[in-house]
């Protein structure tokens, strides 16, 4: 059957649906600048009419749901890229502090090495001169101190990184319960439209988590499950599990999950980058320094033992002889207390400089791996420089990819003000038309009411 009142209810369904659509557009506009917000669209459907030969006249419109426009594959790519960006970025920012130690500035180890040989060169024109000998001792002291400072600064940087690791772990532990709480809320919300806002927030928090550490994401009906490096869960449904920052064997902060040390397995995110700098690159640099210090001190000492000092005594240790490679740089000290003890002579005569000439030849002698002292130093500078340059390029590339992914995400999920305004106009007109239908039905009803009087 059809009736005027049927038309009224059809018009009313139109008014309701357009109102809902206008509210959705208003919410989109209000959240234009909200991070992580995905624009929403109303899903309109014709209300099905049953029975009768006039069912095709229709029964109005129904607003079935409000949908968030989001590409989950893109979100996943963003998540992965955020992890690798976080890793490189943290690594670069730490290693930039280390590379300045290996330049060619005044006071850098390479320059002090050169200055030591230059002081001996000056002495070679008058091997008995005490002031020139003092010059050699001063240069040796400076060189030893450059070895120690460079190594100490690297160790201090490791300490700073450990503090940053602790902080990152705390941030992870703050995020995990928030995500778990959102999981629970989403699970309870049930209806798709109620969950949208919560899902937007959760996506944003998971992105923050990815920036911090290795984390893989799995969707289940309990919500998302986040697991870290070795499969230990951080978030499982409405439960969250904390990572622990524990002091490791050598005083550096280690990370453990469920009582298991997972430090070496954290390879992504900020934590991954920090740990790579602290546990791989810096120890490598320290070993390089130690090898140079050990090779250099040992070579110089063995030559120095073969000579005689100003008093005719056989030469002692010029640098305190390191017992082993490890720690040689940190323990480097010039051993001679008196300039007269420098063994420049080979024949015991006061003015002889034959042993000094042999010491001078160390400038071009292989002390580590067939490389002269300065070549060793420049090889270290080259290694850290090229590694960092490569990593800086990674950061730039990763930044670009992130930018592109974000643009692609915004192309799907971003709110366009023009689009919303156009929609607003469209729904406004439809609302006005539906309201007009109500007026028309009202007028027609009045006509029916007045039929008998006329």
């Amino acid at each position: 059957m059809f009736s005027l009142l049927g038309a009224l209810s059809t018009a009313m369904s139109g008014l309701r649906a357009q109102q809902g659509a206008i509210q959705t557009a208003a919410n989109n506009i209000a959240n234009t600048n909200t991070p992580g917000y995905a624009r929403r669209r109303v899903v309109l459907q014709e209300q099905v009419a049953y029975g009768g030969s006039f069912a095709a006249m229709g029964n109005g419109v129904q607003l079935t749901s409000v949908r968030s426009l989001r590409d989950s594959v893109l979100e996943l790519r963003l998540h992965e890229e955020t992890q690798s960006y976080g890793e490189s970025e943290a690594y670069v920012s730490m290693m930039q502090k280390a590379e300045v130690l290996f330049g060619d500035a005044d006071g850098a180890l390479g320059n002090e090495l050169g200055a030591f040989f230059d002081a001996m060169q000056n002495l070679s024109t008058d091997a008995s001169s005490v002031p020139l000998r003092e010059g050699v001792l001063t240069a040796a002291g400076n060189l030893a101190s450059a070895f120690r400072t460079t190594s100490q600064q690297l160790v201090a940087l490791q300490g700073n990184i450990s503090r940053a690791v602790k902080q990152a772990v705390e941030e992870v532990n703050e995020l995990a319960p928030q995500i778990a709480a959102l999981n629970a809320a989403i699970h309870e919300a049930r209806s798709e439209s109620d969950a949208s806002a919560l899902e937007d927030q959760r996506t944003l928090l998971i992105r923050k988590m990815a920036e911090l550490t290795s984390v893989s994401v799995m969707e289940s009906n309990e919500g998302v499950t986040l697991t870290t490096a070795n499969g230990v869960p951080l978030v499982l449904g409405s439960h969250s599990y904390a990572l622990e920052a524990v002091p490791g064997a050598n005083g550096s902060t280690h990370v453990s999950a469920a009582g298991e040390d997972i430090t070496s397995e954290l390879t992504e995110g900020k934590l991954g980058g920090l740990l790579r700098a602290r546990d791989v690159t810096i120890p490598g640099l320290l070993t390089d320094l130690d090898e140079l210090a050990y090779g250099f001190a040992t070579t110089v000492n063995s030559i120095h033992h073969g000579g005689f000092d100003l008093s005719g005594n056989a030469g002692g240790d010029f640098f305190a002889q390191p017992e082993q490679v490890s720690g040689a740089a940190a323990g480097m000290t010039a051993a001679l207390s008196n300039a007269r003890q420098f063994a420049a002579s080979m024949d015991g005569s006061t003015g002889g400089s034959a042993n000094l000439a042999r010491l001078l030849a160390v400038r071009d002698t292989a002390v580590v791996d067939g490389k002269s002292p300065v070549a060793c130093y420049s090889a270290i500078a080259f290694r850290i420089g090229s590694e960092l340059k490569h990593e800086e390029a990674e950061v730039a590339a990763s930044e670009m990819v992130l930018q592109q992914l974000q643009t692609q995400r915004d192309a799907i999920s971003g709110v366009s003000m023009d689009e919303e305004l156009a929609d607003l106009l469209r729904f406004q007109r439809a609302f006005q038309a539906a309201a007009r239908v109500v007026t028309v039905v009202d007028e027609l009803t009045e006509v029916v009411m007045n039929m008998r009087r006329s």
Binding site: D104, F117, D118, S129, S353, Q406
Partner: protein, 294 residues
Amino acid sequence: MRVSPNQSAAMLSAIAQAQEQESRASLEISSGRRVSVPSDDPAAMALGIEIGSQLRADDAYLQSLGSVRALLSTADSALNSVVTDLQRAVTLGMQGASGSLSAEQRRAIAQEVRGIRDSVLGLANLSFRGTFVFAGTATATEPFVESSGVVLYQGNEGANEVSLGSTGSIQINLPGSRIFAAAGAHVFAALDGLAAALEVNDPDAISTATNSTRAALDHVTAERVFYGNGLRQLNAREQSLEGEKLQLSEQQSDLVGVDLADAVTRLLTARQAHDATLQVLAQTSGTSLLDYLR
């Protein structure tokens, strides 16, 4: 296809990039260096460190070269005086040998010869910056000491070398024994002999002693060539070291120094990109449907 409605994000990152390039170029210009830390250009930095070390070493070699030159020329001029003294002694010996002289005249000549011997002894004990030049490597020991009328050599037979870098090393001294106390050409023995022969008024002995003195003179003259040669070598090496230094500094400035034209061009390009992006940003964010809905 729907494009991202948030175009300003991309533009902000372009602006950040332009700013980074601007600050990088300004830093290069103000510091005068293209490479300040290893990661700027690892290969250039590594090579720069080695070249820098070589440059410093060359400076040290040049400084040594100056000291060696002072030492060699001091020794050379001392030996020049010794040669002059010995020439005078030979002349005196020839005068003394001529038959027309009286014993008293010969004694007068002998006295002058003794004076020459003392002067030569002083020259042989020459010290330079507090060390004895003709004592071999025993530079703290006075090399020639008179003991009961005989001059004895107290130094050693050692010689020192000073490295002058890639041009090799140079010997900087001759032991005094080789110059003044060589077998058959002992300077002090010859002079003492001549004086003694003059004092005893024996023309034949004077002749013999004069010949010995002449032999000593010839020997010292021959040995002195070592110092002259050394000084000539120093000049040649100084030139080659200066040349090497010039070449190395050019290479170093090519490697790590700033290419001013390039840096300024990059600064200007980045600034233009910055300006253009700002203009685009200002214009595009001005268009909105709102402007047309009245």
